[in-house]
Amino acid sequence: MDDATSEQSGQEEIDYVELDDIIEKEFGSDKENLIMILQAIQQRYNYLSEGALNYLSEKIGVPISQIYGVATFYATFKLKPRGRNIISICRGTACHVRGGQRVFEKVENDLNISDGETTADNRFTFETVRCIGGCSLGPMAKINDDMYGRLSSDRIEKILDQYE
């Protein structure tokens, strides 16, 4: 893992009781549930810290190399801390042919960050997703848990204003 991640995880206090709750109670420390455990940890801590992954490795008896492999294979897992709000712009086919690229570029230019990056004030992390499945409403975006359809570059600007 890169320096930024190790630094961050060094600073972060990990609540092991809480991790135990996820790993043991929710998922029975079952190796087969690894992907869902990682999702739950990320849901709780916003990203997967090195400390949490090491702890998980010991807890379920899966080598850290394998856990790291899974965490880097699947697109949803993030090894760096993310911003307070997560923008996911859909890059599915229907969104693409309906002008999704313009929405993507608008966000990129306005926030001055590219795909996968977080703004300096930690307000937004910008991500893309390969099809949210709301193709009839394209271009689409998801901000945190909220879905927005029929976007234009003007509309996305107004929507982003609502998130602090």
Partner: protein
């Protein structure tokens, strides 16, 4: 209460048929699949629920996808003895007015999609139409006659938009779980498999393998067998499976139960992509309800048949839609496909015999068992029976979820159901099969929807994404788009896929940016043919299809980019002169 027999089902059916068809109150059904919610259906639901809280004369309900996504949020309102009317664009600010409109009997045409003539599903031919004696409203279109609906045959989507997806009772009221009890009590496993074989049901996930043959291969083993549902709909442009899950999750559980009975399995898994949080939620609710009624768990219906279903979520990897990758992911590992010298029906999940079908395939099963293989095969073409769901999207007037009989022409789907391309633009092509498919040009639009016919023209049936492209879409850019997608999603373990895609993307990007040169097209063809021959998995061998198909049908467009440094569609920025060229999109 544990359901022990068909008699118990009949009792529930009778109880809930009243709330479905002849309620004592005004029923308001708000379409609350993801598309509806993204357009404001949740807010409409809350507004109506608050406005009428404590009012016993009205009931505000949610339902799944009503289908006509273009005019969401959709709301159906009805009372016993009066027509059932579906309103369009019912956002929070209009919901109370729409209810008022119905109750007053004003029926403002501007707000209404249509009225329904027969609310029953295809499985309910044993009871009379509750609207038989209700006169139709004058001047309001009848649902069944609207072009968007009249070509459709709703087998898989029989309940979508008609029931509350979180209500197992309403599913039962529309003859849900009757097929399962018929299979449990009246049929031997082999008979079930024979019916599915005779129905010629083919896997709806893209490959089109005959489901009955797959079931039979899995059933011949003695060790623990697994019944797995692929709900990892990663195909960009397709939301077919999401709509089924969000609208009628029990139809999938029932299909899996029947498969488990036929195959002799006691453990089922649904692998659903995490990008579909609402689907996950509705599946969890459905499984809990089925467990409560004893339809999942031990000794189902008092028999010695036990079956459990567990949900497992994906984590954003398109390749996990491939069967061996999916099973590896289900084991908590990296999802990389393996060579299929040994089939998953022999050795799959946990190295055990595993039957994998997708959502739409399982949802077909209860209908086939209740109505028979003969009925099912009466729909469709020689090699493709039944119906297929498509999400009709892109540059099309009526986008939405459509279920059409196999054999219907692409032209009928685009121009009759979809009502063509909006904004006075010309139709250019239709894209099916996602990153494994191709673009079909105008001249081939009379082609029927059929597994073989679509493959013959360089595309494929795919999972059901059907993206309409108008003249403003650049075909080189579309090829580049899919290859970029595949570059991100390639699992990277085999050379042809990992390196080949990267080279194709470099060439395609060059052509789009004006640096394409003579020989590029031929090099793309050569690379494409290499990928088709040497990739490890089916996703890899089909990954070049979007490029090869666009070169085949739209070669002139590639040549214009390379030789004249022009993008005929006016899409590629580097090739458009803002002063002289007017972009078409």
């Amino acid at each position: 209460m544990k359901i022990q027999s068909e008699k118990d089902l009949k009792y529930i059916r009778q109880e809930y048929a009243k709330t479905l068809y002849t309620p004592d109150v005004t029923k308001v059904n708000i379409g609350m699949a993801m598309c509806g919610i993204a357009n404001g259906a949740q807010a409409s639901f809350q507004k109506a629920s608050e406005a009428f809280s404590g009012d016993n004369g009205i009931s505000i309900n949610k339902t799944g996808c009503i289908g006509f996504c273009e005019v969401e949020p959709l709301v159906e309102i009805f009372e016993n003895g009066k027509p059932r009317v579906v309103y369009k664009y019912i956002t929070e600010d209009k919901i109370l007015d729409a209810i008022q409109d119905y109750r007053d009997g004003t029926f403002n045409k501007k707000w209404i999609v249509g009225q329904m003539r027969e609310p029953h599903s295809i499985l309910e031919d044993d009871i009379d139409n509750p609207l038989a004696n209700v006169p139709l409203l004058k001047g309001i279109p009848v649902f069944e006659n609207i072009p968007f609906y009249d070509r459709q045959v709703k087998i898989v989507t029989r309940n979508c938009g008609y029931i509350d997806p979180d209500s197992i009772e309403e599913y039962i009221a529309r003859r849900g779980y009757f097929a399962f009890f018929h299979a449990l009590n009246d049929l031997e496993p082999k008979q079930i498999i024979d019916i599915i074989k005779m129905s010629a049901l083919r896997g709806r996930g893209g490959g089109g393998f005959p489901a009955g043959i797959k079931w039979a291969s899995c059933a011949k083993h003695d060790s623990d067998r697994y019944v797995i549902c692929n709900a990892d709909e990663g195909n960009p442009g397709a939301y077919v499976d999401r709509s089924i899950i969000e609208g009628d999750p029990h139809s999938i559980l029932e299909g899996m139960l029947i498969a488990a009975l036929a195959i002799g399995s006691s453990q089922g898994f649904i692998y659903v992509r995490h990008e579909y949080p609402l689907s996950i939620k509705r599946l969890i609710t459905a499984i809990k309800a089925a467990e409560k009624y004893g339809l999942l768990g031990d000794n189902i219906g008092g028999s010695d048949f036990s079956f459990q279903i567990k949900i497992s979520t994906g984590a954003g990897a398109y390749v996990c839609g491939e069967s061996t990758a999916l099973m590896s992911s289900l084991e908590g590992k990296v999802g990389r496909p393996r060579a299929k010298y040994v089939h998953t029906v022999d050795k799959g999940f946990r190295d055990g015999p595993s039957n994998l079908n997708n959502v739409e395939t399982y949802a077909n099963v209860p209908a086939i068992l209740l109505k028979g293989a003969e009925w099912y095969t009466s729909l469709g073409t020689e090699h493709s029976k039944g119906t297929k769901l498509f999400s009709l999207v892109g540059n099309v007037t009526n986008s939405g979820l459509v279920e059409v009989p196999m054999g219907i022409s692409l032209r009928e789907i685009v121009f009759d159901i979809g009502e063509g391309v909006p904004g006075n633009k010309a139709f250019k092509a239709i894209q099916t099969g996602g990153p494994s498919g191709g673009c079909i040009p105008e001249k081939l639009l009379d082609l029927p929807v059929d597994y073989q016919k679509l493959t013959d023209v360089g595309s494929m049936m795919g999972a059901g994404g059907m993206v309409v492209l108008d003249e403003g879409v650049c075909m080189v850019d579309i090829a580049r788009y899919f290859i970029e997608f595949s570059k991100d999603e390639s699992c990277g373990q085999c050379n042809p896929c990992r390196e080949g895609i990267k080279q194709m993307l470099t060439i395609l990007t060059g052509i789009c940016e004006g640096t394409g040169k003579e020989g590029d097209i031929e090099l793309l063809e050569e690379l494409g043919s290499m990928l088709q021959k040497f990739c490890l998995c089916a996703l890899g061998t089909s990954v070049a299809n979007p490029v090869l198909a666009t070169i085949f049908y739209f070669r002139k467009e590639y040549e214009a980019h390379i030789r004249e440094k022009k993008c005929p569609a006016g899409f590629c920025k580097a090739l458009v002169n803002p002063k002289t060229d007017k972009p078409k999109n």
